[in-house]
Amino acid sequence: MIWETIRLAIQAIFRNALRSILTVLGIVIGVAAVIAMVTVGQGSSDQVTADVAKLGTNVLMVMPGAGQMGPGNNSVSAALDIKDVEALIDQLSSVRTAAPYNQTSLNAVYGTEDTRTSVAGTDTRYLDVVDWPIVLGRGFLPTEESSGKAVCIIGETVRQELFGNTDPLGEKIRLKNVSCEVIGLLEAKGASSFGSDQDDIVLMPITAFQRRVTGSSDITMIYAAAATNVSTDRTLVDIEALMRERRRISDGEEDDFNVRDMKQMASMLTGITDVLTGLLSAVAAVSLLVGGIGIMNIMLVSVTERTREIGIRLAVGATANQVLLQFLVEAIVLSMIGGLVGILSGLGLAAVASNLMAIPFSPDAAIVAIAFLFSAAVGVIFGYFPARRAARLDPIEALRHQ
């Protein structure tokens, strides 16, 4: 009987194909939106996690300033200096190596070419910390680092912008008023989890950067790599203790610096993505509700329109429950078809979007199942009232209906 009812429902749905399509459009859009949002959100979360893994999960960052990262926070606390870097390496066995890292944004000019790029002052150890190979040329020599010679290692994007595909080695680019010789080219890394281009960078010795670009011996950030077989968490605790000692923070006082590992960075980033995904999905879920109301609306119209048909069914011996079931199943089948189409188009949309955004396509079976069940539930909830109305019709009245 139930298969018969489902067959009849499908028959009724296809008898009014156009109206059925318009009816389920709300459900289709709602489900597609939710699925696309969640899938793309999941994809970008995965991307962040993958990026962090690439960057090295054993990388830590030390920054002056208490509490959260952000503008304004580091103004009150003392900056770091190069002695802190040496102390981390010399005094902590849990730190394999560390490097200073000062960054700013400048125009890089070569001949008539000109590009806005990120310029960082650091030293050779940085490339070791973040495991970034040089594919062409060489790294900074110790003499260059100590003398503050104006040499630089450039990222792939900067090369493309300034030199095209030609060999940049030995050429001089101008950064602000510094003329800087290109000695190396970094391996291409691609976009970061923020979507920023990691290859859009120029590295120069920290001494040169301090002297010629910022004019101060401050260091704004230290990158540190945990020693092999030492957990990042322990390294983090060690660094915090050493930094408190070096900065003479007495017990009970708050840190005036920050140590973060990449896991924290990752969870912060995925946290943002999750909140955004949640918000957008909630908005999309509202359209599911609207879709459900659309189904109820059409089912009510359908009951009125098919009053005579209901009368015929009652006359030939359908019980009230059989009529109720018929209309209920019709609403459920309709909304499940909508859900199915919505899931497929949502996944399609997410696949295209993931491709365009260069993030992994990560469909989640649980979300797909939930969306499908939800659309079925919409059918039950919004189909019940019209179905009950149909079942309660009086056969004589219904047969008389024109």
């Binding site: 005579r308 011996g317 009230a320 056969p395």
Partner: protein
């Protein structure tokens, strides 16, 4: 139900049935103390001017309606005591309906239309198909099984409707103005078909009509006026009397 039926007990027995619609000033007595007994195998035509209560009587006999007072016994069972669903089950097992407007489901093939009562009866698909094809053949619609009602002529539509009424092998066929929408030639065809079903298959037929020509196919005419049975007898007798009193 059939077990309780005695050999000569009437299939349909109305005992002093009244049906009232509305209240107070607006009260309408659609049926006013109707008593009527129809035996198995009869072919009865219910006639009368409009508003005489013949349609209400038809709905009553068809177990679509319940009396305000009086008893209706179908095969000895008090229909007034049955719930809506019990009456639906009674209709599906013992009654077949033919309407003036055919009342076939639109955009649904003749075959599917005829299968409809069997679906509610829970007959398995293969058997259902066989029975429906058989019923369609019986009414002369062989070869038209897969046509939609819109692709059938009025007479063919009514034949399909008769097939639908017959398919469950009902005891009683109820026909409400079955020829009302058809021209004379087709009307005669339909009446011949009903007559055949009555004579050959011994199906009890109760028909409402306002056409004397059609009523003459019946064995018995029940003439109603103002909700009461005024005359009840063979067609010739009833019509003769009506003509004389008119």
């Amino acid at each position: 139900m059939a077990d309780t039926m005695e050999a000569d007990a009437p299939v349909i027995e109305l005992r002093n049935i009244s049906k009232t619609y509305g209240h107070g000033e607006a009260e309408v007595h659609a049926m006013d103390g109707v008593s009527l007994s129809i035996a198995k195998g009869e072919f009865v035509a219910i006639m009368g001017p409009s508003g005489s209560g013949k349609s209400t009587a038809m709905n009553m006999i068809g177990c679509l309606d319940r009396p305000t007072s009086g008893d209706y016994l179908f095969n000895g069972v008090h229909v007034g005591d049955l719930t809506k669903d019990q009456r639906a089950i009674l209709r599906r097992n013992y009654l077949g309906f033919v309407f003036q407007g055919f009342n076939l489901l639109a955009r649904t093939s003749a075959l599917d239309n005829v299968e409809l009562p069997l679906i509610y009866k829970g007959v398995p698909a293969a058997e259902r198909r066989a029975q429906a094809l058989d019923a369609l053949a019986k009414v002369g619609l062989k070869g038209r099984e897969h046509h939609d009602p819109s692709e059938l002529s009025g007479g063919q539509q009514q034949r399909a409707a008769i097939a639908r009424a017959l398919v469950g092998s009902p005891q009683v066929l109820l026909a409400d103005e079955p020829t009302g929408n058809l021209d004379t030639k087709l009307s005669v065809e339909i009446m011949e078909l009903l007559k055949l079903l009555n004579e050959r298959d011994h199906i009890t037929i109760v028909m409402v009509t306002h056409e004397e020509d059609m009523a003459t196919y019946a064995h018995r005419v029940v003439w109603m006026v103002d909700g009461r049975v005024e005359r009840d007898g063979p067609p010739a007798e009833v019509f003769n009397h009506e003509r004389h009193s008119a």
